[in-house]
Symmetry: C3
Subunit: 273 residues, 3 copies
Amino acid sequence: MFKERLQKVRNLNPLIHNITNYVTANDCANILLACGASPIMADDIEEVEEITSICSGLNINIGTLNQRTIPAMIKAGKKANKLGHPVILDPVGVGASKLRCDTALKLIEEVKFTAIRGNISEIKVLALGKGRAKGVDADIEDKISDSNLCAAIKFAKEFSEKVGAVIAITGPIDIVADKNKAYVIRNGNVSMSKITGTGCMVTAMTSAYISANKDNFLEAVAASISAMGLCGELAHSRLKERDGNVTYRNYIIDEVFNLTGDKLEKGAEYKEY
Amino acid sequence: MFKERLQKVRNLNPLIHNITNYVTANDCANILLACGASPIMADDIEEVEEITSICSGLNINIGTLNQRTIPAMIKAGKKANKLGHPVILDPVGVGASKLRCDTALKLIEEVKFTAIRGNISEIKVLALGKGRAKGVDADIEDKISDSNLCAAIKFAKEFSEKVGAVIAITGPIDIVADKNKAYVIRNGNVSMSKITGTGCMVTAMTSAYISANKDNFLEAVAASISAMGLCGELAHSRLKERDGNVTYRNYIIDEVFNLTGDKLEKGAEYKEY
Amino acid sequence: MFKERLQKVRNLNPLIHNITNYVTANDCANILLACGASPIMADDIEEVEEITSICSGLNINIGTLNQRTIPAMIKAGKKANKLGHPVILDPVGVGASKLRCDTALKLIEEVKFTAIRGNISEIKVLALGKGRAKGVDADIEDKISDSNLCAAIKFAKEFSEKVGAVIAITGPIDIVADKNKAYVIRNGNVSMSKITGTGCMVTAMTSAYISANKDNFLEAVAASISAMGLCGELAHSRLKERDGNVTYRNYIIDEVFNLTGDKLEKGAEYKEY
């Protein structure tokens, strides 16, 4: 039940260590607070092990990565693994450069991730070691639709088995899968793609969900992805004529702040496969 | 016609590579999305050439520059030049330190800019190699008014000829000039100076306009500057009693999101010189 | 009188040099503008001396510190000291890692701070050289209440005497003290802790207050802390059913923008000890 997953985040108030980009760091911090967790951002190699040690989970996001922060990501990830902390990866724009691709693949090799969340193009790059990616957005040809849904679920399950992490592929239709089971989630609003950082934000929130729900990572990730989509729907219904993407962003985080287990349970739109 | 310039951004959805400061990166990303473009931020020297290669344009902003990112700016700029991509420079606070001044002058020497946007104090520093600048704001003695407008237009045209870029000087009165022609734009609201990053934001948006309008850079820059000012006016008219500078910032980006070619054409206030 | 302290910020429009974290830099810049000051963010060691020289005050915040920016903080601090500029320290999460603790202690050793602002856990770490800290939030056992208020005031006065800076301990009850006198301030709203960066923001605003009120640092700090709390109350009263922490953040900065000396004088809740 997604309801219990949300409730556990609110009850346990997990502290999340974020090594993330400077574009959306503020939104990620606020959405973590909104969902009931607490954020700390720290990326210097001298402190990441200590920081991650006082936290319950680790969120690694490769947007605006640089050569100073890459070793810090690996060091923090290894430490979190040792401590048994859930770790999530957001491979932002992984198809856009060799540096991002090499970094993401090295991270997956050296760190055991609990979950990986990206758009379909990003996840394909990770799975196939190559792919097309128009910057940080999904390539049109990659989009998941009802006509290729079965293949996409199969792909997600297989990649999950290979890498040992729950795989979350977000987009108009979201797929959350481990090797045995997948959730296909149909929450969300198409306008969410007109806000910077909705991907980063849902990954940050998901890090809180897995940190507070170590008994069932798959359901925790699915609950978080569904919660974000639902908040996107609710926030969209609040928009008035002159509101645009920034007010929409603000309202989404506000809805996360006000989301209850009952609202999530009622609004979640998903099927299991 | 400014209308067509805006419409082309919406039609072509240009992907813009931003090497920019961490203070306003989120607002720049959201305004790019709002105007119809897509942003990617990347500043590591190992990836900037690749990133700029998959984009349509490059936005270089020297706010919070550091010695790691300066060579990345130059490398990205040279690559964009080779590829024929429009490149814009925002010389944030260029008069405030030798590092910023040297960096901006080196950038201008090594990279061919399509456009440069700054306040009058910043543009003077670039043109004269010196100048006064109170941090990131224009010095009062520099302000363009009706009494010195002709001299300012002449200055902008001459600097444009010298540097080979469209020059946009923004402030209470905006001047957008190439060597032959200038637009004097009177859109905007004085309260825009109470928001951090309006300069960075309009430069980011202008990078989208020039990337989508390679047939007429001068008009593209003028359309973008006018659009930002107009959105500043429209957003200001929405403010209620207790709203302040942050709600104003949000509303400006919202207005950019909702701006149409017709609204821009009707609201643009400019004369050609 | 707090009223005059606020008015001086608006009259003098101090330019503040910020070496701060990338999570809340945008909010800090906007709150500085909102209160009547101007921000400039600059952290490269090659330019910090020059930047601080053209400013009236310096704000050093160790959130997302790294080995590149630490020497820049020290260099800027020493320069500000030489010039007689007020300098403030925000020891964000100082108990969370050795790097943060060592950096903060080194800063205090090498730079003379006018004021230091943190939560009780952070200030305890600075004073005792150790302590508990759950990331960037205060530890529950540390919380100041009416039952330990006298001891907390004594602690703040003694630490102020030792370090030679006005000490601001913020939380449900705020204490602002120099060696002789303390203000106990009871403005604010408990939900402010659900917004990222309220601490960073009040420190940034306080840097403006001390820079514009060099005749009475203690009262300047108290006025700023009270002003932030009051704006937290006023903003909270504006929230409607579906608003959450991001709208709350926006409204707080908006209230700072609209705050007058009279409103502050009337709304400030404090006692002197």
